[in-house]
């Protein structure tokens, strides 16, 4: 056993270093240093995106095959870190509020520990490591969801999240145990030899999948999503909706193609059912939602269904379009949540759709960004979402799922409807008392600006996709 292997995991180790730095700073810093806390965290985390890309990209296998990394995984890590950085940037105002100010450090630490968990999920080539990573990614999130200690909704969301999460992980472990029982190994690379597609393994696979489906929030494993999203602090919701989802999707892709390759027909059928259910049911829910965060929860379920379209083929093209989709989804969704966070602060309460009425009059820039972000989510050109959706459809079509693509396309029309409802509220519906003009702080501005750039440029500037495509497989 060579302990230097630990230091080969540069992204994880450097993130842990940041983690420790924050912990120490939290302990020692007082007074005016504390005011710089947020800036410091941002300054630490943003360069880390670069670190992930630059130093994590070397293909290597560690710990006897438990840990694996390559440039694609490094890119994923970088993307997740980038997303986390955006979330942290947006969190500034919330962290300054009375009840959270004193536990600012906890927020960073919890958030970063989930990020570490996700790193391990991405790099895991062994179910144990994967399980540990996944729990590390979920548990602190439960704390984050319940972060607003004095708000009942936050606590309710937290308990729902944690209970469902435990239930899901129990189900998943149950599945893994049978996989272990039938194949005798927990290494991804070895397990494939023992996969035969027997009913027991199908059972095991679906149980295992339900655990990941919970994280990705696919129908019918999605029911916690809306409640937790609504109850959690908006920043946490944003994080839940993109980052933890992105990591889970990527891992799922790896496991399905690496481990369950002999059962392709089975899991494709499974995904088929789940995609149709996710997209359709989430859309039906979303139509009726007026609470904006809840609405975004259903939107994210439906988006998850679209991401799965890239997974279902299991092809290289699917991989690149999936990663690309996640990237685009991160910027678009975070833009929406950033705006919700901002106007929530102005309204001091939960945002329902009617609160957006006439928003354009008072907050033209925010509304415009919101519109672009929603258009991007709906897949309207020339914004990035159009490209990502198109590529996802292409990959599914390429894999032969023509009818599925058609169903998904019909659903995009429904999704466009509910996204447009918000646009309509902002621009068209008259309102005598719109939310007054909100001034964003610097951090939020940076974050929203980055999102805006991403929404506009990620699609048109094809080098992003080309770059991702080069890294695939």
């Amino acid at each position: 056993m060579n302990y230097s292997q630990f230091f080969s995991m540069i992204p994880e180790v450097s993130l842990l270093a940041i983690f420790v730095a924050i912990l120490i700073f939290d302990l020692v810093a007082t007074g005016r240093y504390r005011r710089m806390f947020h800036a410091m965290v941002c300054l630490l985390i943003i360069p880390h995106v670069y670190v992930c890309m630059e130093f994590g990209g070397k293909e290597q296998t560690l710990f006897g095959g438990m840990y694996y990394t390559n440039s694609m995984i490094a890119l994923m890590k970088a993307m997740l870190t980038f997303g986390s950085a955006l979330v942290i940037l947006q969190a500034h105002r919330w962290l300054r509020s009375t009840h959270t100010y004193y536990k600012q450090g906890e927020f960073y630490i919890l958030l970063l520990s989930t990020l570490v968990g996700m790193y391990f999920m991405l790099s895991a080539r062994h179910f144990l490591l994967f399980y540990i990573g996944m729990e590390l990614a979920s548990l602190p999130l439960a704390c984050l969801v319940a972060f607003d200690k004095y708000r009942h909704h936050s606590a309710e969301a937290g308990i729902k999240y944690v209970l469902t999460s435990m239930f899901a992980s129990a189900a998943m472990l149950y599945g893994i145990s049978f996989l272990y029982g039938t194949t005798g190994t927990l290494y991804f690379d070895d397990m494939i030899a023992g996969i035969t597609g027997s009913p027991m393994q199908i059972f095991a696979m679906v149980m295992f999948f339900s655990g990941l489906g919970f994280k990705i929030s696919l129908v019918p494993f999605h029911l916690w999503t809306a409640d937790s999203y609504q109850g959690a602090p908006t920043v946490v919701t944003a994080y839940l909706s993109v980052i933890s989802k992105g990591a889970a999707v990527f891992t799922l892709f790896t496991i399905l193609t690496k481990v369950f390759a002999p059962m392709t027909a089975q899991w494709q059928l499974m995904l088929y059912i789940l995609i149709v259910a996710s997209i359709t049911i989430a859309n039906l829910f979303a139509i009726k939602q007026t609470n904006l965060k809840r609405f975004m929860a259903f939107s994210s379920i439906s988006q998850a269904g679209y991401i799965m379209l890239a997974v279902i083929g299991g092809t290289a093209q699917g991989m690149s379009s999936m990663v690309y989709y996640i990237l685009v989804y991160i910027v678009a969704n975070l833009a929406v949540f950033g705006i919700i966070e901002t106007i929530e602060h102005a309204k001091e309460g939960e945002i329902v759709r009617d609160d957006c009425n006439g928003l354009y009059k008072t907050n033209p820039r925010l509304s415009l960004l919101m519109t672009l972000a929603l258009f991007s989510l709906a897949g309207i050109p020339p914004f990035a979402g159009f490209f990502s959706k198109f590529f996802v459809f292409m990959s599914a079509f390429d894999a032969g799922f023509i009818v599925l693509v058609f169903i998904a396309l019909i659903n995009t029309v429904i999704s466009l409807y509910y996204y447009l409802l918000i646009v309509k509220a902002m621009y068209i519906t008259p309102n005598d008392n719109p939310i007054p003009h909100v001034k964003c702080d610097l951090f939020a501005r940076i974050s929203l600006g980055a999102c805006l750039l991403g929404i506009i440029l990620l699609g048109i500037c094809s080098f992003v996709y080309i770059g991702i495509d080069k890294l695939t497989f």
Binding site: Q317, D398, F406, I410, T412, I428
Partner: protein, 494 residues
């Protein structure tokens, strides 16, 4: 530097400039400068294109260029124009130009209006210059979505409902379309997205064509107001502000016909030949049904919208006849309908802006009150019902003569049925003219109204000149279009 890129670049620059504008004067300057530039550009392009053609350049597409965009998916940004696209670009420029003047006094949020307006025209231009299916589809959708806000914010009546319906139906259409595009791409072996290369490969298996031809055709057909997917059109047009109606009926609906021709028919020739009869029936219904519906409408814009259904139905009808002449006629009809409807909607908008009603039962004797607009309306009406000397006549005649060249009973029968629309058109046009323009003005309020202002006169005169110009001297357009149509027809009827 390819001249065609300017068609995308100028709107982009305009968008940027508009974003920086501070007052209405600057906005108008930007708009006028930009749209004039575009108009000049497309006129130059037309002249240059004709010159090149007469100099003996026979390549199907001119000004071709291609930049790899998403190489792993064979997506390129390829541009190139043939006669059809040149004609369409010219049409778009004219409408964008006149539309700018027609929305001279739009309020409120002038800047935003023009931002979306320019984005829309960007999509339109992009659609016509590109030859890559992906890029075409992208521009196509880019052109659709601004409609929502343009109608929703600046429209009138039940604008929210209409805008939503229009957007969703068109997006539903583009869902079909996307299926079609993917089907074509993968059916042809997934080697290229360029329509001309696919057409040359000509290797899509027939059974695949049978699936994707209807999808593609319906996809574009929704925008081309194909029965029974046309119902967005009356509501949408009725609610839209003037210049948006102009642009929408004038140019956007042409995207449908153009796409049907350029993608559905061109790339899926086998299925087009075998399945055309289904759509011929639908389009024939469109033609007659739209016209008959228009007769009993009472809202000016509804009348015109149904008239558009009828006329755009004729475009698709002609395309499906698949003869050189009828397809040339289809393109002519697109041009002509684009100009005429734009003129019509402009006038309706101006009248509505004064009377604040579009109900024909509440207006009378406008000829005495606003003679300029009334005369304009009569001219537009006469052009619409296919009076020789205006563009509608040549387009319709070319279509009918072309359609009659298909020598079998079915085609003959539907052609004759479609011909009846010229009578029905006369009925509803004259009904309106008689009701609102003639007679003694009865409404006291209306008697105080004024005639057109200079910007309105300018819009109307420009369009009338275009309509009449096309109608009196059709040869050059016909020549322009002919070669482009020929290539596609050759592919359809080997």
């Amino acid at each position: 530097m390819n001249i065609l890129n300017l068609f995308v670049l100028i709107p982009l620059v305009m968008l940027f400039a508009l974003w920086l504008c501070r007052n209405i004067k600057q906005i108008r300057t930007v708009m006028v400068a930009g749209s004039t530039l575009l108009l000049a550009l497309s006129v130059y392009l037309t002249i240059d294109f004709i010159a090149l053609r007469s100099a003996g350049v026979t390549a199907p597409q001119l000004y071709c260029n291609s930049w790899s965009w998403f190489p792993s998916l064979n997506i390129c940004y390829s541009i190139g124009v043939d006669g059809i696209s040149v004609a369409m670009l010219l049409l778009s420029s004219i409408i964008v130009f006149t539309g700018t003047f027609a929305s001279w006094n739009i309020k409120p949020q002038t800047k935003e209006f023009f931002l979306w307006y320019v984005l829309l025209s960007l999509g339109v231009y992009g659609f016509f210059i590109t030859t890559d299916m992906f890029a075409m589809f992208m521009f196509y959708e880019t052109a659709l979505i601004p409609m929502y806000l343009l109608i929703g914010v600046w429209g009138s009546g039940k604008k929210e409902y209409s805008a939503m319906k229009l957007t969703l139906m068109l997006m539903g259409g583009s869902a079909f379309l996307l299926m079609g595009i993917l089907g074509i791409y993968y059916g042809s072996g997934a080697t290229t997205m360029n329509i001309h290369e696919i057409a040359q490969l000509n290797n899509i298996p027939t059974d695949i064509q049978y699936i994707f031809f209807p999808l593609t055709f319906i996809g574009f057909g929704v925008l081309g107001a194909l029965f029974p997917f046309h119902t967005w059109s009356p509501d949408g047009h009725a609610s839209a502000p003037t210049s948006v109606s102009m642009l929408h009926a004038g140019v956007l609906m042409k995207l449908g016909g153009y796409g049907c021709f350029r993608i559905a028919m061109y790339l899926l020739p086998q299925a087009a030949n075998d399945l055309a009869w289904i759509f011929i029936i639908l389009t024939t219904i469109s033609v007659v049904y739209g016209a008959l519906s228009a007769i009993s409408q009472t809202d000016l814009k509804y009348i015109n919208a149904y008239s558009s259904v009828s006329h755009c139905g004729l475009v698709l009808f002609a395309i499906l006849m698949m003869t050189q002449t009828s397809c040339t006629g289809a393109i002519l009809q697109m041009l002509s309908h684009g100009l005429m409807t734009a003129l019509f909607f402009a006038l309706i908008g101006m009248i509505y802006g004064r009377t604040h009603t579009r109900d024909i039962r509440q207006m009378q004797g406008l000829m005495k009150i606003m003679p300029f607009l009334a005369v304009g309306y009569v001219i537009a009406g006469l052009a619409n019902l296919g009076l020789p000397g205006f563009s509608g006549f040549i387009a319709e005649m070319t279509i009918f003569v072309g359609a009659f060249m298909v020598d079998d009973t079915f085609h003959r029968a539907v052609t004759i049925i479609a011909c009846t629309s010229i009578v029905i058109t006369a009925v509803y046009i004259l009904r309106v003219v008689g009701k609102i323009l003639y007679g003694e003005p009865t409404n006291e309020e209306h008697k105080k109204l004024s005639d057109a202002t200079w910007d309105e006169r300018f819009t109307v005169i420009c369009l009338v000149i275009c309509v009449a110009g096309l109608g009196i001297a059709p040869m050059w357009v016909s020549d322009l279009i002919n070669s482009g149509v020929g290539d596609i027809i050759t592919n359809l009827r080997p």
